[in-house]
Symmetry: D2
Subunit: 345 residues, 4 copies
């Protein structure tokens, strides 16, 4: 039994982590840490946990954080972990960071995207990028994981086979759509129900950090630097993330070669499903699960490839992939605690 | 391992049954029967089952229906099962009917509510009413279950302790609210997205059959005949059912006596949670689970008791309670396959 | 041309007021006052006003508030107007208060519901209750209006004819449902999209002030004191309010007498429509309009009358009725600027 | 007073037409034609019209269709008008076709997109393409209008100034998002509430006819043939359409030159608003109005221009632009009956 701690437990990713970990046969939850809800029962904050988890949220104490646990999941907002994490804390435990602080850290990019200086860049090398299906060997050996972002996960899963096999141009446009849970639990006017419902918008049209992360991820696994123009959109729903990617086919690439490339990398992968030709990818088919659905078509008139991929932003895009990585790191079957059948209704 | 068949597998209740049964450790699904989708892969009808259940839906053949299975779940629209069910089919198998055909069957009431004559009233006596928490002893001995309706489940769970303990008047008003999945998968103008979204309505203001069922259920368990005025409403969401019940307190009934009555019947019941004083019942806290949440307040100015109860209409109100009943009938722990943590987001 | 000011212009009621007043042929908007958005263009706060109203929001200055205008609409949160309003301000202008501070003011009730002492109770007598259809004669003579609350409007419109004609018992249960705009623009966890969407809840089960207001309104127009048990619910939609009222019929009351009573008071009223027998009231049929739809059924088994009424909470429940009252006060046709065809899609 | 007929009056575009035309000062509605709802009161079909328009829907009789009216709006599904329209009918009346049958008709393309042979291609030349802001001079002289499609309207309005001024490459990617009303009133599984809500999907990834229409529109107004890769998406909301267009800047094009181009064509246009730099386009800001909002950003890292444009698919994308065209054809101010302030809440 792994002794587990969850940091940032009352955010949406933290909530999903607890839902997954409480039903995971190999772990025992020892610490539920939430600065904003300290001293409150978890089931008071999230009443769906009534009688399921009535533990009290602990204050965040960095000094004793790693005591008594084997693995820590961190789901903090950007900028907090990098301020407080110390090298010896990493020595003591496995750490899976759902946050952004150690994902392909580049000091200048970090300042560009997050508007603050990174305070522990020297620790970044100890983190392994946790795109489960593409970095399994490294994850197995790792003790500290930088868990991928939700959009970056979908973009990389959708594009990596094609770039790896040299089938598409590296100038790629990605148009993303995500439900409101992707914006987190912090109150903002943009996420106030009467403002968010019944509307769709593009935001951060050119400055969303996941375009950087996805490009670095592709570079890591393919050795090529793509140019990604990425525009995220907010659509009025709870969960779900869909990306629509556009790229020119290269050389002799055609429908069959594209499909063969996907099959090569994804056949037998329990969490990645290539849909049959002509079946539309929809976020509901993966909702509340760790699944990623992918499909594509070729626009014969313009020669453009259009790929769509859907994940649940909170699960495969956050907590689920984190648990998948924990499973890999600890030698459990990858789908332990993740055999969730999507709840399409 | 119980060998299981599901009849009406492509309706929403059937879909939820499959989601539950596929993750149930004690069953093996042998027959997925759907007349409307026969010969199609289940994962073609519901793409969330891609690679999870690609079995082909079988044609409905009444003659061989019970062959090779131990237990059959029927989730057919009203009027079908009562036309085709035969006594010897019941001899062969356990049957849990999620439909309405054998719930407190009264020939005249059946015609009143469903506009057709019941063709097998003689079989009704073989069915046990499956309100799990209130009829456990009978269910344990039963082989055929009439599984309660969604609204009836919530109404009975909310009112039974109070009527049993003689704390409220028997003239009760129940105002119900349910999401659109409660209307099923059949296409209607009222469930067309642009017609249903962003609107709330009352319907069947005086003729919803669940008021009859709830009254009979209360009579069965308390020996008293309540008068229930029930008005269902459709609210624009997928799942979830909330009832708000109004009744006059009797005699010396007060807050404490009400709470004591609830605790007497529900303490230790894993699927029924009395929320703490002042905490609002919300459907999201039970979504995608077999939970029922209940709370109440007393209007000191009018002496009226107001009880609210929430369930997931497709789970505790249909497929979940059916699995709970299967567990009871077969000696499994009640929560086998039902340890679902509600998905509030 | 009436010179108009709007106080609290950036709340949702203020926003609707501006939408109505800008298309009203008899008014000229002179002051748009918003403390929270002062010095910002109205079209910056609400981008739907881009190029339609780019005026800058003025700071709230109580001393000069009434200068240069003939009529002021106040849409402030409770507790502000009663603190600052002075008798001589009332002398200078017409005032329509969409807020609650002067509606059937009773000092003790005000403290009970709002938790603060009322500071200008002596001004309450100068306000006329603005239920347009029932108080038209008084409104015509009035200069200061306490505009009814949204729930109170629907409850009173639904019940007044029946109580006036002595057709129902005075013990009445009202179950209300309203969209999220009813909760205003202030950020709260309960109105955060991922918390509010896909859920329905009852709240303030016994303490919503509109039950008091509705009872006083009924007393004012009928001379009888009803006992109203009122429970509001939040349903996941933008706008729309539906009430479902339950009362016992009295004496010889029956379907025809009920309908006759409604016709007696509402025939020819442009904003109140009795739907035909059997047609369900739905909030979408009145959305974005000043309409109120009403219908009813009698439960023959329990003798209970069930009345449903729907309004747009922001229009007939706030800004629209305010404009209707302005029209009455100033001798304009009641529907000037209010000929809005509901937007059901 | 123009005597008006509406054909296909009970579809969503027809409904919006009636809402607009009933409040239009220069028209008198003479014929409401609906084959599917013939002999029913319009207010029975759409209860929001109760007491506003209780006229009975007429049967569709092609022989007498043009009798007694000056202008006909047709909102029929594809394939009907082209089957029945005759040259002499066009002689008698003005006709504004909201349908697709005469938009840039090419027989082969029509068969490709709609799977049927066009039966009256010889009439196509009599139709003028009704993109109001770009074809005003021709519309003024026209008697028969092919009203643009919703997506085509947004795409053309967003791209025309840039292509006209030679600022962007002609290889353009357009990612579209539209609410469910865009799918019409016909019942389908994909528009059934529990299937459509809480999900987003791409569909017709490479075969949506509006990409053809937009390309022809651009050719008409700029003399250049763009290559448009267009993917529409359905998002769970009632109304609203957003397009996100991606194109490479050409030569010396930069932020200022782009904005100057937009201003050149759109300054003073009441229905097209360029938002200020940094303000996000959102569908709610144009909801229930004839407005089009546009904004853009340049991705400095990839040199890609990203343009977003939003309209209400039923108004500027259908009924509103039709009324605007009627106004132009008949010498009324363009905004007659269209001074709708968007309903963002």
């Amino acid at each position: 039994m792994l002794r587990v701690g969850v940091l940032g437990a009352t955010g949406y990713s933290g909530h999903e982590l607890l839902r997954l970990l409480l039903n995971h046969s190999q772990v025992s939850i020892r610490k539920i840490v939430s600065e904003s809800c300290k001293d409150r029962a978890y089931s008071f904050v999230y009443r769906n946990f009534t009688s399921i988890c009535d533990d009290v949220c602990m204050e965040l104490n960095w000094d004793s954080l790693t005591d008594g646990i084997d693995i820590l999941f961190s789901a903090l907002p950007y900028g907090l972990l990098m301020k407080h994490l110390k090298s010896d804390m990493l020595d003591n435990i496995q750490l899976i960071d759902i946050g952004v602080d150690y994902r392909f850290l580049d000091k200048h990019e970090y300042e560009y995207y997050y508007g603050m200086e990174h305070e522990s860049p020297e620790l970044a090398d100890r983190f392994t990028y946790g795109l489960s299906e593409w970095n399994e060997d490294q994850i197995r050996k790792a003790r500290h994981i930088a868990n991928p972002g939700c959009y970056a996960t979908a973009i990389e899963l959708a594009l990596l086979p094609l770039i790896k096999e040299n089938l598409i141009s590296l100038n790629i446009i990605v148009d993303g759509k995500c439900g409101l849970s992707g914006s987190g639990r912090t109150l903002t006017l943009g996420t106030h129900f009467p403002e968010a419902n019944e509307s769709v918008k593009a935001y951060k049209l050119t400055t969303h950090p996941h375009s950087y992360e996805a490009a670095r991820g592709i570079e890591l696994f393919c050795g090529k630097q793509p140019s990604i123009t990425f525009t995220p959109h907010i659509v009025p729903m709870q969960r779900g993330l869909l990306i629509t990617a556009y790229a020119q086919l290269k050389g002799t690439a055609n429908y069959e070669r594209i499909r063969t490339a996907y099959d090569k990398y994804y056949e037998g992968r329990p969490f990645i499903q290539m849909l049959k030709r002509g079946i539309y990818v929809e976020t509901k088919w993966v909702r509340c699960s760790n699944m990623c659905h992918i499909n594509f078509e070729i626009n014969e008139r313009t020669g453009m490839l259009v790929v769509t991929a859907a994940i649940d932003n909170l699960i495969k895009g956050a907590a689920g992939q984190a648990v998948q990585n924990m499973n890999i790191m600890n030698g459990y079957p990858q789908d332990t605690g993740l055999d969730l059948i999507p709840a399409c209704i």
